[in-house]
Subunit: 177 residues, 2 copies
DNA sequence: GGTAGATATTTTGTGCTCAAAATATTAGTA
DNA sequence: TACTAATATTTTGAGCACAAAATATCTACC
């Protein structure tokens, strides 16, 4: 009756690493979210809120859209975050006369102060452990993540039939660890 | 080699890699979210929904809590996802006689079918590129991520020795001293 | 039997997240 | 001036995500 064996491996043929990579990413995402909630109890700021404040401090006054890009979030999302931060008095929004479509965001004194007392954006445990790594190891992890980002953000590689294994991106500086 | 932990300027002193790592993670998270939304238009399932279905298929009937663990989400979150999947007729929930606290979740025929026609959980572009890597490269990325997960999930490493700067004038927001 | 504590799930409340639509403003053009 | 298109932000609607509280059930010990 089952007309075809429907070999479940046909499209499920994922390399074990593929599953594993996804699983790791989910766990990282979750760990960050959990830490964000702990942050709230220690300094009344969530992770995304703190990230916005930090970029604001780093880049100075800037329009919503550019802030959104800086923290890798959509403008719509940032609007909500800014609402809450403004409500808390940590920043100010104003439309410049020159172009009233824009909204320039500025850190307030209170915002700068909150930032000074805020813990790091990543778990303290992670921060400690990461800093304990050799510069080479840090760099290696950093590069690995960037590689994943690049593969992730690269869209669809067209209709290109991908069969070209071509060559390894050959990482030259493999040794120093 | 081991850089002595000089008193690191207390708060500003993040290694450049630290910033970069966080930025990469944010971008990865975002890329996954964006793909999840594209998924909806192609198969009416979001990423988390698809992830739940897949685990369900992989592990068979199982209680909510175990499913939550399998997808690295909290039970509360999974409840909402299950609501929608059940509504769509892709799975069934029932409380076994033996223990009516539990809720056993089972894939329905429609669920199994939807799964067969669903695209991969990661961007197609990523999947293609990742598969094009050598086994060694895949493994390397996989390991790097797992290392980060481990550092991320390791809590606080307490007062553990190892690299304590001895004094660390902890002004960390531990309330008013 | 009855009551306390443990276990499993759902509900509640808040925030993050996005696309798409709505709004407001500016610039270009007839 | 009026009309159109482009730009910048906010609103809307839906889903994800969690902790904490609420609910229901089971187990253990009296």
């Amino acid at each position: 009756m089952s007309r075809a064996p429907e070999n479940p491996e046909i499209d499920g043929s994922e390399s074990p690493h593929e599953e594993s990579v996804l699983r790791s990413i989910r766990r990282i995402t979750r760990a960050i979210d959990l830490y964000s909630r702990k942050l709230v109890s220690s300094c009344d700021l969530t992770g995304p809120q703190l990230a916005c404040l930090r970029e604001l401090a780093r880049l100075g006054e800037l329009p919503t859209t550019r802030l959104a890009a800086a923290v890798s979030l959509s403008p719509a999302t940032v609007t909500g975050i800014l609402d809450r931060l403004e409500q808390a008095g940590l920043l100010e929004r104003q439309r410049p006369e020159s172009d009233k479509r824009c909204v320039m965001v500025t850190l307030s004194a209170a915002g700068r102060d909150a930032l000074r007392h805020a813990p790091p954006l990543l778990q303290d445990g992670f921060t400690q452990r990461f800093r304990a790594l050799s510069a080479a190891s840090q760099s290696q992890l950093d590069r690995a993540l960037q590689e994943i980002v690049a593969m992730m953000e690269a869209e669809e590689l067209d209709a290109s039939p991908l069969l070209i294994p071509a060559e390894e991106p050959a990482r030259s500086a493999s040794g120093s660890s």
